[in-house]
């Protein structure tokens, strides 16, 4: 089991450690509810060092990334971050990634922890086609997400400079730091990458500079409820190697007019076919909690399955995401979710709760 360079800090703060994608990480320190609310109203920090950080360099870097990913980096400029998918030749999703564009010879890819090895293998298989080198900097660096409406104050205080002009989905590099205006929580926020040797110092500085705004360390539990409430997909739940980008609502990240990329011909075919099912939001209309993998019925027909679910205390209800047949995908459609063999009344909604 892998530990991040911040593992000792998680123990110091009383983190309840669980295994996630081969890493030992805190699921919460104080309580998931408290940490969720801190991000929505103040600020919090997450250790997201488990995310894979892959540096591509060399003459064919841009060409390689264009071939690997579904989005188009053609118009990217230094400091832009682009959301993209890596698909297989059946049009299924192998990962969702962020592309940090430096220049045509240097690009950083941020990939899911559970997919890091898989993506590395896909990239390595392309060495005969493109001239580049791949450097996995994950083990030598850490990544800390600073999220919440007050996150900007903490970052400005820490680095003694203004970040107000910084655009969402952009990054800057200075003094060994990579600072991006990104996150997964549905709040404003930043993510900072730094070398492993500076990990604990950065963590403690963030806590110190965040003290006056009520910043607290937050775990994977709150990260999951926050992303669910924001309607953000999670690989392994809303996406896997057999889901196609269009049914997942991720067609915006697939540019079918750009030059050849993995899965392109199949994706064109899928795009021209009517969808069989669609990713939707779902809300329980009675007490109970939906989880991943629950069956959904309407008019005694099986119409789909949940992919994520939890209880959001501030909404006082259980919400989730689900794939349902197109006939039942319209917001307002009444359905039943089977929880422990009992039908619970639920309604299809837009998958964004904030």
């Amino acid at each position: 089991m892998k530990q991040t360079a911040l593992y000792s800090q998680h123990l110091i703060h009383g983190g309840k450690i669980v295994e996630f994608a081969g890493w030992q990480l805190p699921v919460y320190y104080s309580s998931i509810i408290e940490e969720h609310q801190a991000i929505r109203t103040k600020a919090g920090i997450f250790d997201v060092s488990h995310l894979g950080r892959l540096e591509i360099s060399g003459p064919d870097t841009a060409k390689l990334v264009q071939y690997l990913a579904t989005n188009d980096i053609q118009s990217c400029q230094t400091g832009d971050i682009l959301y993209a998918l890596v698909c297989n030749d059946r049009g299924g999703i192998e990962d969702d990634i962020l592309i940090y564009y430096r220049n045509p010879q240097s690009i950083l890819l941020l990939v899911n922890a559970s997919n890091t090895d898989k993506i590395k293998n896909i990239i390595k298989a392309l060495t005969s086609r493109f001239n580049f080198s791949l450097d996995d900097i994950t083990p030598n660096t850490v990544m800390i997400a600073v999220q919440g409406p007050k996150a900007i104050l903490v970052i400005e205080s820490l680095f003694s400079k203004s970040f107000k002009e910084m655009k969402k989905y952009s990054f800057i590099e200075f003094d060994n730091y990579i600072v991006s205006r990104t996150g997964y929580t549905g709040e404003d926020g930043f993510e900072v990458i730094v070398s492993k040797d500076q990990a604990i110092e950065l963590w403690n500085q963030l806590l110190q500079h965040g003290q006056s705004v009520g910043l607290i360390p937050c775990g994977l539990g709150a990260r999951d409820t926050l992303r669910l409430e924001a309607g953000n997909c999670l690989y392994g739940h809303e996406m896997n190697a057999t889901t196609n980008p269009f049914e997942a609502g991720l067609g915006f990240a697939v540019k079918l007019t750009k030059p050849d990329f993995i899965g392109k011909s199949k994706l064109i075919e899928l795009k021209n076919k009517p969808l069989q099912r669609k990713l939707v939001g779902i809300e329980l209309r009675e007490s109970g909690v939906m989880r991943d993998g629950y069956d959904i019925f309407a008019n005694a027909l099986s119409i789909g399955k949940t992919t994520s679910g939890s209880y959001i205390p501030s909404l006082k209800k259980s919400i989730g995401m689900a794939y349902v047949s197109m006939d039942y995908a319209k917001p307002g459609t009444m359905v039943q979710v089977m929880i422990r063999n009992k039908p619970y009344s639920a309604v299809i909604v837009n998958k964004k709760w904030r």
Partner: protein, 124 residues
């Protein structure tokens, strides 16, 4: 911190016995492990259960956990206050956070349960 007058199970439930009725809940250790309980799925009165049976489910923000009965008997009542305030289990696991009241059908089963001291050594 685990009240002496209660009996405990290895699966972290407690029972308080008065004559042939028992009140059942989960331990402070268990509520702490589950954290943030948001829903208690409890049985209706009249249902009969056997010692070791799963009688309900506690949903925390993160996960669903089964709860097991320390004894056999008939359910007399579920704690109605938990319907609107499941957080009572976190806040007060031994008093306001009780879950079911049960009429014991085989009180000798109590002898197989753990004392507060035995339970404490189990979780230490």
């Amino acid at each position: 911190m685990n009240p002496n007058e209660l009996k405990y199970t290895k699966s972290h439930e407690w029972i308080k016995v008065d004559g042939d009725t028992g009140i059942i809940g989960i331990s402070d250790f268990a509520q702490h492990e589950l954290s943030d309980i948001v829903f208690a799925d409890l049985p209706e009165a009249g249902k009969t259960i056997v010692a070791g049976d799963q009688f309900g489910v506690l949903e925390s923000v993160k996960t669903a956990s089964d709860i097991f009965s320390p004894v056999s008997g008939t359910i007399l009542e579920s704690n109605a206050a938990l319907k609107d305030h499941p957080e009572l289990i976190n806040q007060d696991p031994y008093t306001q956070g009780w879950m079911i009241k049960i009429k014991l059908s085989n009180p000798s089963e109590l002898d197989t349960l753990l004392s507060a001291q035995d339970y404490q050594s189990l979780i230490s």
